[in-house]
Subunit: 241 residues, 2 copies
Amino acid sequence: MEIQISVAKTNKFGSIESGDSLEIIERPGGGISIVMCDGQISGSKAKTVSGMVVRKVIGLIADGIRDGAAARAASDYLFSEKKGKYPVYLNILSADLQTDTLVLTRNNPTPIFVAQEGLVKCLSGLTQPIGTTRNIRPSVSEISLIIGTTIVMYTDGLSNAGTKGSGLGLDICTALEAVLEEQQPSSQLIADSLLSQAIQLDHGRAEDDMSVVCLRVLPSSIDQIRRLTVRFPIPVVQDID
Amino acid sequence: MEIQISVAKTNKFGSIESGDSLEIIERPGGGISIVMCDGQISGSKAKTVSGMVVRKVIGLIADGIRDGAAARAASDYLFSEKKGKYPVYLNILSADLQTDTLVLTRNNPTPIFVAQEGLVKCLSGLTQPIGTTRNIRPSVSEISLIIGTTIVMYTDGLSNAGTKGSGLGLDICTALEAVLEEQQPSSQLIADSLLSQAIQLDHGRAEDDMSVVCLRVLPSSIDQIRRLTVRFPIPVVQDID
């Protein structure tokens, strides 16, 4: 069995900084977690705050703290530090090898899609951003870690794409079903496909920072080598050619 | 221009935990850094200590501290925490967009290879592991961030491969020159190629944890999308099939 996680991420058009922060960590008890934060203010302050929250959550998970408790702790920490002025949307997606489950922790109005055994389910429901008040609770779902599972989560730049102009947003469930019909799409292909459709809906100029995460549980790995690849384009303004 | 970083990593044969820890972070002033630690003790304690050091260095870089200062601080922190009992080899490789340089920080006897303009150079020279005493200094090199640059760094499991049995280790410089002769090899192909040659020298059973990092500076990116992919095979003992 192999767990494949991919991220595709773009800044708001014309912006050199993103308020979305993502980090991946190997869980101390086995498995892997990805933490995604979307700062609800704009510019470099959003980047600083979402980066601070991601690192806090990663540090807590590294210390063996469960995801739900880490989300609550990060919320209290953010509230103490920023007095409720900087709300942040937070998602934690974990493949936990101690419990053989996928754990989805959500403080984000955007839903998480789970495709398992030919069905795409949508985990939605009201949740609050973290850091706005004391006693924020995350929504935590736990599902079996079984082969063939695909999970997609994203920031609101993706779900809001196209809604300003024509009013037609991306139907992520249908888009995900379509890409899953291809022959064994990689997690990167799925993330890329959803992001490019969203950017198209914004007429090629993303109206907001957008991040998509796709996790897949694949039947077998070619070997026991762990691999990581980052592709980091450098904006033309900073090009030193 | 695009910066591509890939990691290929395997555990010592038969071991479920690795003493090598790697993490990637976006630099607060622009750019990207990868931190690699190799704990010089065995088993789960090595994993805990190298993970602790990596997170400390990542946290310091996130706070805007320069790589060399972060390495010194992490060394003092490790010495204070563990009283010099847990030496750790540390490398930091950064593409710093504030200075338009690649910064190579090394507290590791294994060299770093830099291929630029058709020449492969080897950065070696004596350095101490961190955490063994106070006032440990890293070796810091800074080179121009120019298109076509390839950097390879690795843990000692790679350079020691094959040296126990036949006595013939991997000539990494020659192996790197050979793979660079291919048509635009990706950073993942280079990392995979070096790791697989090392595992072959250990007769298919890695004698130690092995990690290889390859950074490439490529001429242009297809788009301004950042991408990250992790492939995380799950050891057969933990398979739930």
